[in-house]
């Protein structure tokens, strides 16, 4: 573009736009922001409720940053003993750490302080829950496939970091509940062979509980972890922009396009409005429902403990895993203690996390599919993946449920021992049952889809034919609906063939086995020929 035109244009806009145009020009000449607006302003985002779950996580994180910043102005991350002299009568004169005392002051002596504490804590629970739900959506729709495998890994690391943020924050007030939580962490760390004792010693700056841990967790909680999370969220979102959002199968949608609303204005209005809605829901919970009443728990002391001592929900699966271990799993060998009762949960949860982390690569290896996938799978159209997911969810849910074994016992009038034994059974057998059921349900739904494509919906209208025969009238499905049911990627089991050296490698055998497991009872999508055939039959 020549200089003359730019100048004339500028003069014109100056006349018509006034201040806005001047400001825009000023900024653009210094930042080139018009490029960004041109690239991103009309970027298309597909619309589906499940695509907003990641936003819930992002927005809760923003809420956490806002409310957390407020709390830092009042919180004192020190374990120096002080005598509480605030407004809450049943703790007056009690000796506690400055951390606990300042948390109580936030709750009882600063207007709106309790509200901010409760906003912060509810938003934290929501943050992790929203990430979890978002991950389930990604998993069950196959959105982790190429080119998004790395973004799955980043997202999963964010999930782990969110839990770490949650746990470090939970421990800061130095109340009885969180102190016992730290005690459990200390006990688990000590159970790690070789280095456990030293890690615990260094972590707590001496013997448990020491006077260092709250300050250290505070550094992690407000500095290190948030910085990493912010950086990873930026990467996560950058990848979303680079890849463009996935979309569900639908008429007109292909792997080469993305259909939806532009960022400006519709998506901005909806997503921007949604931030306020999420904030509003969190605010409503914080104003109506108590969370973490540290004034009931009192200051940490190694001698008392409360019935129903549990971690926040996202650590529950680990607590549950500890509870499930049967007695007697610990031994001394070569003068050293092997705490198998702690190592089994640590190792099995570590493996579980690892498998979830690398799942996209496992599936990519099994299918050998190197194409990009931007159209999501309906969960039923990937039966084995869905079944594996169901098994994983069941395993996690069983551990999670076990963490509330005592509360289940009292509220459903059953014995605590019975609950534990049941959960031990469910943790091991439950995933297999869930796998089987989920897979059968998927296949059944796929068969139903075929049925609908070929013969239409059951209309519920019964007609009597001239010959006296009764039939139900089937309503044919329109082509747009039909497209959703027939357009899915279909794989068949891998045939083992010798490689160039004429050998069949073990890797190849494993891959073929996995492939058979994934795809042997696949149901093919309906093709044109079948459709024609069905059509002729109907007439």
């Amino acid at each position: 573009m020549s200089t003359t035109t730019t100048t004339t244009e500028l003069v014109e806009t100056k006349k018509s736009g006034g201040l806005t145009a001047v400001a825009a020009n000023y900024i653009d000449e210094r930042t080139s922001i018009s490029t960004a607006v041109k690239e991103l302003g009309r970027k298309i985002f597909p619309d589906h409720w499940s695509f907003l779950l990641g936003e819930v996580a992002l927005y809760s994180f923003v809420i956490i940053l806002l409310s957390g910043s407020f709390l830092t102005f009042f919180f004192s991350a020190s374990m120096a003993p002080v005598q509480y002299d605030g407004s809450y009568v049943p703790l007056k004169g009690v000796e506690m750490s400055a951390a606990m005392s300042s948390s109580l002051d936030i709750s009882f002596d600063i207007r709106g302080g309790l509200l901010m504490r409760q906003v912060h804590h509810w938003a934290a629970l929501l943050f992790v829950a929203a990430i979890g739900l978002h991950m389930l959506r990604i998993y069950f729709t196959g959105a982790f496939r190429k080119p998004r495998e790395l973004n799955w890994v980043i997202g999963f690391i964010l999930f782990i970091l969110a839990m770490a943020e949650g746990f470090t924050g939970y421990s800061l007030p130095d109340d009885l509940l969180s102190g016992n939580g730290l005690r459990i962490i200390d006990g688990m760390v000590k159970g790690i062979p070789l280095v456990g004792t030293w890690i615990s010693y260094l972590l707590f700056g001496g013997e448990f509980p020491g006077e260092a841990i709250v300050g250290r967790l505070y550094s992690l909680h407000i500095l290190l972890l948030p910085a990493i999370i912010v950086a990873l969220i930026a990467m996560h979102l950058l990848f979303v922009v680079v890849h463009k959002h996935t979309q569900y199968p639908g008429a007109g949608r292909t792997n080469q396009n993305v259909v939806g609303y532009p960022v400006l204005p519709v998506y901005a209005a909806k997503a921007g409005g949604f931030f306020f809605i999420v904030f509003g829901v969190v605010m409503l919970m914080a104003s109506l429902f108590t969370i973490n009443p540290i004034w009931n728990y009192g200051p940490y002391d190694p001698s008392p403990v409360s019935a129903g001592t549990q971690p926040d929900w996202y650590i529950g699966f680990a607590d549950g895993a500890l509870r499930l271990i049967p007695p007697g799993l610990e031994f001394v060998w070569l003068d050293h203690t092997f705490s198998v009762n702690i190592l089994i949960p640590l190792v099995s949860l570590g493996l579980f996390i690892l498998v979830v982390l690398i799942y996209p690569f496992i599936e990519a290896w099994v299918t050998g599919d190197k194409r990009e996938h931007h159209i999501l799978d309906r969960p039923r159209n990937a039966p084995t993946r869905t079944a594996i997911g169901a098994a994983g969810v069941t395993f996690y849910a069983a551990l999670w449920t076990t963490a509330s074994s005592d509360i289940i016992a009292t509220h459903f009038s059953v014995t605590m021992e019975g609950v534990i034994h049941t959960m031990q059974f469910l943790t091991i057998v439950g995933p297999f049952i869930a796998f089987f059921i989920a897979k059968r349900v998927c296949l059944a739904l796929q068969k139903k889809d075929r049925e609908i494509v070929l013969h239409g919906y059951e209309s519920g209208r019964i007609v009597r034919l001239p010959g006296g025969e009764y039939i139900e009238v089937h309503q044919p499905i329109d082509e747009y609906e039909r497209w959703k049911l027939v357009s899915y990627s279909d794989y068949k089991p891998l045939m083992i063939r010798p490689n160039a050296q004429g050998k069949i490698t073990t890797g190849q055998k494993v891959r073929a086995g996995m492939s058979r497991w994934f795809f042997e009872d696949r149901i093919e999508p309906v093709g044109n020929a079948e459709l024609e055939q069905a059509h002729t039959d109907r007439h």
Binding site: W49, P90, L91, I277, F289, P304, P311, T410, M416
Partner: protein, 270 residues
């Protein structure tokens, strides 16, 4: 009996008394004294009651006992295979067990449960009078110990150390082994709280006056009444069960509401 380092410590503290048997004598005296004091204390309460209640009341109590309790506890309250002896349990125990509806036992189970009270206050008093007439035991608490006007901070600390592991820090109750449980303390009267501490009903340990003084028991009651009379400053307490109910609430109602809203946001306007 183990008496390992007595000479040393006795020698150090009280230099005049060095006879080897002196420490034994001292223990004996100490035991006698405390035991005697306790007995005197208990009997004085019992005596006070006995004098207040006529022999006739005891007679009525005995009849009630024979009709309602003797099947399990025996005609002379000596205990049978299906119920413990009640000799020496005191009026406090009777008042707690019958006054909260736990006795008479409705059915076998892991533990006797609170239910509608089966007797009138007068009947309970006569039963208590009868049982405490059998042998001295903890009497009914003094009403000035039940006024909930003690030091709630001290009470809260004692509650956390002695009670919270079973009853939960907010008194919401908790699980014990084999289907037993520590009940919620919400709405339990001061008198029954006090009696439970003194008598140690069922699984609960006894907290005698040497462990938690009557004044401290009053503090604990003060704290529990404070919790009862001051609803949680943060809003509805979700059963005071801690992170489990909070997490469940967040998933079902918090995230549930948000998911419902996402469906609205992305639904096409018509």
């Amino acid at each position: 009996m183990t008496t390992i380092n007595k000479p040393k410590s006795a020698g150090r503290r009280k230099s005049g008394r060095r006879h080897p048997l002196s420490s034994v004598a001292l223990i004996a005296i100490g035991l006698l004294f405390t035991g005697g004091a306790y007995a005197a204390f208990s009997t004085s309460t019992a005596n006070a009651e006995t004098s207040a209640t006529s022999q006739q009341t005891i007679g009525e109590g005995k009849k009630l006992f024979a009709a309602n309790c003797a099947t399990c506890h025996g005609l002379a309250a000596q205990g049978t295979g299906s119920g413990p002896s009640l000799i020496g349990v005191g009026a406090a125990s009777v008042d707690f067990q019958v006054g909260t509806g736990r006795m008479p036992l409705q059915m076998d189970g892991p533990q006797a449960q609170k239910k509608a009270v089966q007797f009138t206050d007068e009947q309970i008093a006569t039963l208590a009078a009868y049982v405490s007439s059998l042998a001295p035991g903890p009497g009914l608490p003094d009403s000035n110990l039940l006024d909930a006007k003690g030091n709630s901070a001290k009470g809260a600390e004692l509650f956390r150390i002695n009670c919270a592991m079973c009853h939960n820090v907010a008194g919401a109750g908790g699980a014990l082994t084999q289907g037993k449980f520590a009940p919620s303390l919400d709405g339990v009267t001061s008198k029954h709280i006090y009696e439970a501490m003194v008598t140690g009903p069922q699984s609960m340990p006894v907290f005698n006056d040497m462990n938690i003084s009557p004044e401290s028991k009053r503090d604990i009651i003060t704290y529990l009444k404070y919790l009862e009379n001051n609803p949680s400053p943060g809003g509805y307490a979700l059963g005071s069960l801690g992170p489990v109910s909070e997490g469940l609430f967040l998933w079902i109602f918090g995230l549930g509401a948000i998911v419902a809203l996402t469906v609205w946001i992305t639904a096409r306007s018509n």
